[in-house]
Symmetry: C2
Amino acid sequence: MEIKIKQNVLQANANKAQELKKILASKGIFMLNMISSPGSGKTTLLEKTIPLLKSRYQIAVIEGDVESHRDAERLDNFGVQIASINTGGSCHIESVGIEKALNSFDLNHLDLIIVENVGNMVCPAEFDLGEDCKVAMLSTPEGADKTAKYPLLFREAKLTLLNKIDLLPYLNFNKEIFYQDIRNLNSDLPVLEISCTTDQGLSAWINWLENKIKNKKTKKG
Amino acid sequence: MEIKIKQNVLQANANKAQELKKILASKGIFMLNMISSPGSGKTTLLEKTIPLLKSRYQIAVIEGDVESHRDAERLDNFGVQIASINTGGSCHIESVGIEKALNSFDLNHLDLIIVENVGNMVCPAEFDLGEDCKVAMLSTPEGADKTAKYPLLFREAKLTLLNKIDLLPYLNFNKEIFYQDIRNLNSDLPVLEISCTTDQGLSAWINWLENKIKNKKTKKG
């Protein structure tokens, strides 16, 4: 019975996600869904990303947290629209939460929406939120074996960010295993090595985002 | 409806957990349930812990993984009984999985069972597995704000391990905030600062474990 109920939940979520995709397509808004463990550096990357893009693009952020609103508070002074989803103990965001967040935004003046999912590599990978891309983030201290341990995320993702690359000298992180596992799971998945401490790789990340935003605008309607 | 179903799932899980507690009490076996994000260092700590205890105690390990059996394989040559629970995509272990694992062990010759839960700070905290203690692990690269963001785990835990303490000089980890948040959530929660790279704090961890094992034996039956 539990499996049947889960299928129903996933189906209802997918139906709502399809509705949201149509709305975002009609407005030409690119939406990405960032997924990682707690503490991989999602919010810190947003703190770096927003100032680099906001003079050229209108941005909104949807923050998912289990109980607190700490991540949303960190972005309060960045001059972008923010919607905070408190999941009330649940380990992932569902598309019905995104619908409410979109209703709180002025969609006629937005180019990019970044969803920062709940810190968790398992369930968020199962839920389509109507996004254009899932972006998987792994930070080097978590270990090179995590792609093979949480394969669904890396199969679903359109980009992987390998964060905290500046910590490599102090860690026992086997890059060869990391890239080998990525290739086995999803041979087309691009990987960007980044650091929000040294800013390594951030320009490549910004280029990737800008291409996606422009591409979505071109296909508007 | 979804909430009702979740309550039923949690109730069935709790009932089974009560049965397991009785079995473990009758055998005088201490069981702990280790919970953290992916990559905090749970398996590495087991690789350090088992050799320090196995001459004096009979140990078994229950490994929970979403899809792979990588963690169980890492412990294959450590000379302890291992049961591997593949959760089939689920983000936590439930007590029915522990029951199967216990059935595969020789419970008459065991002192300690360590459950390594699925890497996730959210749902594993909700599920009683019949354990004596939940142990929460946080590694310093994850950031000092994680206790307040995942409060249930730190309310439920009987011990917190702050791991990868050797990386502090390379990180922006605010220890004051970390301890303040811990005190606010659970004023009695002991914290051990450890490193599996430098072995800092491991003797305190082993002492904590030995006290618990001996205490459980004394109360046997």
